[in-house]
Amino acid sequence: MQSPVTGAPVRRIGIRGRLHQLDERWSPYFYISPFFLLFIVFGLFPLGYTAWVSLTDRTLLDHSPNFIGLDNYTALLHDSYFWNAVENTLGIWVISTIPQLLIALGLATLLNTGLRARTFFRMGVVLPQVTSLVAVALIFTQLFSRDYGLVNYMLHFVGIHAIDWEAGRLSSWIALSVMVTWRWAGYNALIYLAAMQGIPDELYEAAAIDGAGRWKQFIHVTVPQLRNTIIFTVIISTIGGLQLFTEPYLFEPLKAGATGGSDRQYQTVVMYLYEKAFAGTQFKFGYASAIGWALFLLIALISLVNLLIVRRIRTAEA
């Protein structure tokens, strides 16, 4: 590429040349501007404006909301429904993320072999990812239904009788975590697989010379080499898992309330935000915005803790 600024050219720069200069100087900003404009208008501004709304008592189309300082946040701290939702969200997140990532690691190891029909099995593993959240939620809700569900039918063979999955706290969490794991394990497996293929053979050869078997190679070569990828998947699962909405929202028999069961046994934080802002007739936009910011802080906090734990493991190893 010619540099537009190097020294004075011998020839006079014509209008064409000048246009070329202008083009090279300014067009890059023009080309990247759509992304930044859209992000500011539909991403950053709303997020910042959420902070402002959360300091008011605004409802739906209230044009003169009152500034009430941190009242929404104080109320939130004393709101047992909110803490219940936090507990549910964290609980479901833990029991869906851990099995999901372990299964993904195992699957990736299976896929990272000299397989025949490699594409077929990769497709089989990642198929759930193509399925929409709504479809997953509706199909599994039917599978988990108390009276006609296939899950209970299968369980009766081992002597367990008609669990009302939706009604209990732990049972509903388990059902939801099955949905999440089913949809995401294969996706994470592909990510691990991509990273495994980047591990240099020499490391395995060296380990083999040292007498390490398959399992020791996995623990001492594969897992440490995947560390960054594992951090990546944990953070992605954190951001996604703490915003869980569709599965629990559609798990309810009547999909309108967003209360997460009659005792709020599986209401997540985003469901609670939705309940306050959009379900029913409350339209408590100020309060719901405070919920949004609280969740944002929670996600940031947990991502940070994740990073610290992983770093601790790293230094312990080294």
Binding site: Y31, F35, L115, V126, V134, Q142, Y187
Partner: protein, 294 residues
């Protein structure tokens, strides 16, 4: 953040296979089991969709498809029978997903081109900023976004779900990596010598070169938008629904009409299943490429 995984050369692939040896029978059994678990819920939606509700309640459960699929489909698309217009939903989703897909591919390629091949002050910092935006959970701004849409008069209109998605950080990232790695500078210089403006370079050199990655990005974008639920539920609702909103609305009746609900579900996943059957390899490539950036 480093590079997109390079395609594995045949030489390298042989070495990997030799290192790992052929897969044992247990590997095949395990993967076959997982494949069955993957397929079963989708198969199940077809089973329920092809029976009437009395069969759904049968004990022991019926495990094979029945003959009522056509009847359930007629019910699904009969606006007198159900609480939502499923045709409208399918057309809406097709419009939204197509417009967003074209736009994401075009604007991502344009920005990716600028970041990969043009020199300008602030380039690296701005690119980092693009990547940084991926970590911001913008969904949490739904309330002000909704207020924005009210002011724009877009509530219940498709532009409310189109506009916020017209270009994505992921798309810009993917395009930038691909263009930086696969379009030689000489090609661009040659176009410059021929008197092309940068826009000409983009159109005549970059656009043809990015076709493979554009297909991948397009597929992933189409899937994401087709499957999107939270925001369409809030801003559109059942009166002018996308297919996901319509399907969920089917399930909100007082009587649990599982046959109808899962017929709608089956119809809603069918287009993506067909796409996946033909282009699964590309989708897998896209997920694996896009993911390895940590």
């Amino acid at each position: 953040m480093s590079t997109v995984v390079q395609p594995v050369s045949p030489h390298r692939r042989r070495r990997i296979s030799r290192r790992l040896g052929a897969a044992g029978p247990l590997t095949y059994v395990g993967l076959a089991l997982v494949t069955i678990i993957s397929i079963f819920p989708l198969y199940w939606s077809l089973v329920v969709a092809s029976h009437d509700n009395s069969a759904v309640a049968a004990y022991p459960p019926v495990l094979t498809p029945g003959t009522e699929l056509w009847h359930n489909l007629t019910r699904l698309f009969d606006s007198g029978e159900v609480n939502v217009n499923f045709w409208t939903a399918l057309i809406n989703s097709a419009i939204v997903a197509s417009v967003v897909t074209l736009s994401v591919v075009f604007f991502s390629a344009l920005a990716g081109f600028a970041f990969a091949k043009l020199r300008f002050p602030g380039r690296n910092a701005l690119f980092l900023l693009v990547i940084g935006t991926m970590l911001v959970p913008v969904q949490l701004g739904v309330i002000p976004l909704y207020i924005e849409m009210v002011h724009l008069g877009w509530v219940n209109h498709l532009q409310a779900v189109i506009a916020p998605n017209l270009v994505t950080a992921f798309g810009v990232f993917l395009m930038r990596q691909y263009i930086a790695g696969s379009v030689p500078d000489e090609l661009i210089d040659a176009a410059h010598v021929d008197g092309c403006y940068t826009l000409g370079v983009f159109w005549h050199v970059i656009m043809p070169a990015v076709r493979p990655v554009a297909a991948v990005l397009g597929l992933l974008t189409f899937m994401t938008i087709w499957n999107d639920f939270f925001w369409p539920l809030i801003v559109l609702g059942p009166r002018n629904p996308t297919v996901q909103v319509a399907t969920s609305t089917l399930a909100s009746g007082y009587v649990e009409d599982y046959a109808l609900v899962l017929t709608g579900t089956f119809v809603s996943i069918l287009p993506l299943l067909i796409v996946f059957l033909f282009l699964g390899r590309q989708i897998i490539g896209g997920i694996m490429k896009g993911a390895v950036k940590g």
